[in-house]
């Protein structure tokens, strides 16, 4: 479904990604591990088209995400450890906007049930600048319930979550694994990734390697 072909990227002459290639098949849950600054977030931001790459291409179902029309990326949802939401808007307004940007028309009831599922229904009318870090992570998770994604990009999903929040994300991940949905999950914790991913890569110095092969 997704094919990353020799993607390279530098920041101010410093290479961050060096000829990264990767294939994600339908139903794959791919984990990418690496130390801080290894380029994991940059790779996900490039896949989400927030960052541009210097060379290479990214194909989704055979169509280029980089050169294709915007609707090619309609099935890709990026959940970052940054909220990627508007602080002065309420939780409900942010979800309505997200749905609208992905071409979805959601009713207040659908938004409400998404917020309820992540434990935020009490705070739906609060501006999200008043939310704690963990609440923002939960709101990010609520996006996965209103956008019909084919490929989910998760960047350090447990950052800032309390015990309940971590359990919630684990439930979501297990459910998605069971449903055979495709994901790319980035974390520094290989042990944690092994629980939820069928393929694990390690990213170090901008070079992506199959973790099992590199360990072997």
């Amino acid at each position: 479904m997704l094919e990353i072909q020799n993607v390279s990227k530098s920041f101010f002459m410093r290479p961050v990604l060096k000829n990264v290639s990767l294939k994600v098949e339908d139903g794959d849950s791919v984990g990418i591990a690496g130390a801080n600054g290894a380029g994991k977030t940059t790779l996900l931001r490039t896949l989400a088209r927030i960052s541009a790459c210097d060379s290479g291409d990214i194909l989704l179902d055979g169509e280029s995400l980089l050169k294709g029309k915007p609707n090619v990326r309609a099935g890709v949802l990026f959940i970052s450890h940054h909220p990627n939401l508007y602080p002065v808007l309420t939780g409900e307004e942010n979800l309505l906007l997200t749905a609208r940007l992905y071409g979805q028309t959601k009713s207040a009831g659908e938004i409400s049930s998404a917020l309820e599922e992540v434990g935020l229904s009490r705070f739906r009318w609060d501006p999200i600048r008043n939310y704690s870090r963990g609440m923002l992570q939960r709101l990010g998770l609520a996006k996965t319930l209103i956008v019909p994604w084919k490929l989910l990009l998760l960047d350090e999903p447990t950052t800032g979550l309390d015990e309940d929040g971590s359990r919630l994300i684990e439930q979501f991940l297990l459910r998605w694994r069971k449903e055979g949905r495709s994901m790319i999950i980035v974390s520094h914790d290989i042990g944690w990734l092994e629980t939820y991913c069928n393929v694990i890569y390690s990213l170090s110095g901008g070079v992506l390697k199959n973790y099992n092969e590199s360990e072997g």
Partner: protein
């Protein structure tokens, strides 16, 4: 999609009231200063009125543009729009229109006070005068949205924005000053139509450029 993006900008401003209030407050303060400075010589003021008012509009537009794009940086909110399946020219168009509206609202507060405090005559060609205002505002908003988009990712965007914006916007403002001057003096349109043509050209050139290149300038 364009309406969703524009509605988002307007809703954010309605909630935060950060952009228009700061623009209007700055504009009114400068007008008060003008009014005290030129108190003794209203004749001198009327000669420089056009230049002085467009100078105020230039500064308030930088203030507004910077704030509008800063709000996109908070919580990395721009990432939501960039990663969504949205044509990026629509992001430019929504920023252009919202920037224009914010500038226009601030001017609706500032201009009557300018005329009142400085005791200027209402121009006879009021329709043309309004048209020049609106066209120049559209030009400033188009250039400003493009430059603000370019500087959005820069670490010192608040410094970079005016450095890049002022030279680009100067010909447009010179044309606006000349046109306003001609209107205040009651000159026939035939005599200053070249300045109006420059304003019109700038609006077209920068709006088309913005639509075409925002895709590339908005990415990291």
């Amino acid at each position: 999609m364009f309406t969703a993006l524009l509605k988002k900008d307007l809703l954010i401003e309605l909630r935060s009231k950060e952009i228009v209030i700061s623009m209007a407050a700055f504009g009114v303060s400068v007008i008060l200063l003008y009014s005290f400075s030129f108190n003794e010589s209203p004749r001198t003021f009327s000669i420089f009125a056009s230049g002085l008012i467009w100078m105020v509009f230039l500064f308030i537009s930088v203030l507004g543009l910077h704030r509008s794009f800063s709000l996109e940086k908070e919580f990395d909110a721009i990432g939501l729009i960039l990663s969504a399946p949205v044509d990026r020219s629509l992001i430019f168009l929504s920023k252009w229109v919202s920037g224009f509206l914010f500038l226009l609202i601030a001017q609706i507060i500032i201009v009557p006070l300018f005329w009142l405090f400085l005791d200027l005559d209402i121009p006879e060609q009021i329709g043309l005068w309004l048209l020049i205002f609106i066209m120049t505002d559209l030009g400033i908003a188009a250039i400003g949205s493009l430059v603000a988009g370019i500087t959005l990712r820069a670490r010192m965007s608040e410094v970079l924005l005016p450095i890049l914006l002022f030279p680009l916007v100067s010909p447009l403002l010179i044309a606006a000053v000349k046109s306003t001057d001609a209107i205040l003096m009651g000159l026939p349109f035939e005599e200053w139509k070249i300045w109006a043509a420059i304003i019109f050209t700038f609006v077209i050139a920068f709006s088309v450029t913005g639509v075409l290149i925002f895709e590339y300038v908005s990415e990291e």
